[in-house]
Amino acid sequence: MPKVTWILADGREISAQVAVGHNLMEAAVANNVPNVIGECGGCLSCATCHVYVEPDWAAKTGKPGEMENDMLEITTAERKESSRLSCQIVATEELDGIVLRVPQI
């Protein structure tokens, strides 16, 4: 199971093993990562699962899709180059070790 680490705005870190196939919003909610809320259940309606992907991992997570790109316009925290909606990132073995930063909202 790939390991995922969330770094919170205050520097605190939360890590968890995430089953392949689960999306990283679900994983964050399951592990009580604050400020990843995921109010639409991963349906691209809310943007409350916003995270910044650490630069080293950007190539592996890829770019946001078209609808995700539109929804990134309504995030609460500033949108950056590294912004993703974490419900659209699915855990794979390739992402083992991935680091996500959670914005302050």
Partner: protein, 420 residues
């Protein structure tokens, strides 16, 4: 909706509006969650429906729009295809069609954009409080809870202030179409066939249609492109433009969805403050970031939108029950919000509850409330301004509930307040 101690016998008929006259039948929901989490109800004069009552099931199924579709009606009542087409809004569509419209309007309702209303909301609250403090005793639903969402709606839609009372009255007729106090055409009591193509099967829908059309014409003539209504008229990413019918339905949706829900959340909050004075003290102290967490807790507890419906697109089984394609499935958000598997002491308010995974906004699915940030902000600011100026609030008479199994609310709440 709101009560600290439900009074039903645990076997309420969920299809009956009368079963909600003393507040939501929470003993029934508790029994169903425990014993029969996918339960069947017959419905007079129509097809019966399934009830989903557990939080975990709603979280599982609300996102599964391929199985449980919104595109065949979202109210408990049956709808023919013709009625559906005439009355539908983007709320009655599924992704990806739904997402294309949602994206167009999402920005206008996003948290940062809505936050810009902060000062405006405070000003409105101040004038509401001036009025009620001068009187001391009044109906908190009518004179506080109804006022704020109504006046905010005017700001969002860009409608003239003098039209607001009329708009809200019409909105009430749409939503509270099962309470004789709000409409002479009570949905389950008189023949509403002549209005079946109107929003919410109500002549008020027709009047709102006409109003929306005229408003748009006036705005276009003046070249006025401000506000939410303009956004919805923009072509989506595929160049599709919404039809006139869809536009008018969206207008009705905003008038209806944005109003009574927030009103009854505020009314429930004020009722809770009357019943639990320590909550008032906690808000006044303002410690532990209580203003961050309390709006959601008040709204969880209020759960004014008690359910929405979906329709099964194919046969499936849940908790040993065989659901058939075409069956109506009701998601009881209000029941999930009292599920003690998720919420400790669910009938009480814990203003610091964290995390608070309530589903009052239809969380866990693509239709999660578009106006949730606005609603939270309105509830928060109203209460902030209230506790600044009001020392105590007490109930001054019996409260009364709306006659509806859809919208839960205290429609009358006599109170007395004292200034600091």
């Amino acid at each position: 909706m709101t009560s600290f101690k439900p009074v039903d016998d645990g076997h309420a008929d969920l299809s009956s509006h009368d079963a909600f006259l003393s507040g939501a039948p929470h003993n029934t929901f508790a029994r169903l969650r425990r014993e029969d989490p996918m339960s069947w109800s017959e419905m007079q004069g129509g097809k019966g429906f399934w009830s989903i009552t557990r939080h975990a099931d709603i979280m599982d199924l609300n996102k599964n729009f391929e199985l449980l579709s919104s595109a065949r009606g979202i109210r408990m009542e049956d709808q023919t295809y013709e009625e559906y087409l005439a009355r539908r809004t983007f709320q009655e569509t599924d992704p990806p069609e739904h997402s294309r419209t949602r994206v167009l309007v999402a920005k206008a309702f996003s948290k940062p954009v809505v936050a810009q209303f902060d000062q405006q909301i405070r000003t409105i609250c101040d004038s509401i409080l001036d009025d009620v403090l001068a009187r001391g005793s009044f109906d908190a639903t009518k004179d506080i809870a109804r006022q704020l969402p109504m006046r905010m709606l005017g700001q969002i839609l860009g409608t003239p202030d003098e039209d607001l009372d009329w708009l809200v009255e019409k909105g009430d007729q749409l939503i509270a179409n099962t309470d004789p106090e709000f409409t002479s055409l009570v949905l389950d009591k008189v023949d509403t066939d002549a209005y079946r193509l109107m929003p919410f099967r109500s002549p008020a829908g027709a009047e709102l249609y006409e109003y929306a059309k005229k408003l748009m014409r006036d705005k276009q003539a003046k070249g006025d492109t401000t506000g939410v209504l303009h956004l919805i008229l923009q072509p989506d990413a595929h160049g599709n433009v919404i039809s006139e019918t869809e536009f008018r339905n969206f207008f009705c949706l905003l008038v209806a969805a944005g109003n009574d829900t927030t009103r009854y959340s505020i009314a429930a909050s004020l009722y809770a403050l009357c019943q639990r004075p320590q909550l008032m003290e906690q808000l006044k102290a303002g410690d532990n970031n209580v203003w961050e967490t309390s709006p959601d807790e008040f709204i969880r507890w209020a759960s004014p939108t008690m359910h929405f419906r979906r329709t099964a697109t194919r046969d499936f089984e849940l908790h040993g029950k065989e659901v058939k394609a075409g069956d109506k499935v009701i998601m009881w958000f209000i029941s999930a919000n009292r599920d003690d598997e998720v919420f400790q002491n669910p009938f009480e308010l814990d203003l610091l509850r964290t995390p608070n995974r309530h589903v009052a906004f239809g969380q866990g699915g693509p239709h999660v409330c578009l106006g949730m940030w606005l609603a939270r902000l309105e509830v928060r600011i109203l209460l902030q301004e209230l506790v600044k100026r009001v020392k105590s609030i007490e109930q001054a008479g019996e409260h009364e509930f709306l006659r509806s199994n859809f919208i839960g609310g205290i429609k009358r709440l006599p109170v007395t307040i004292k200034a600091h």
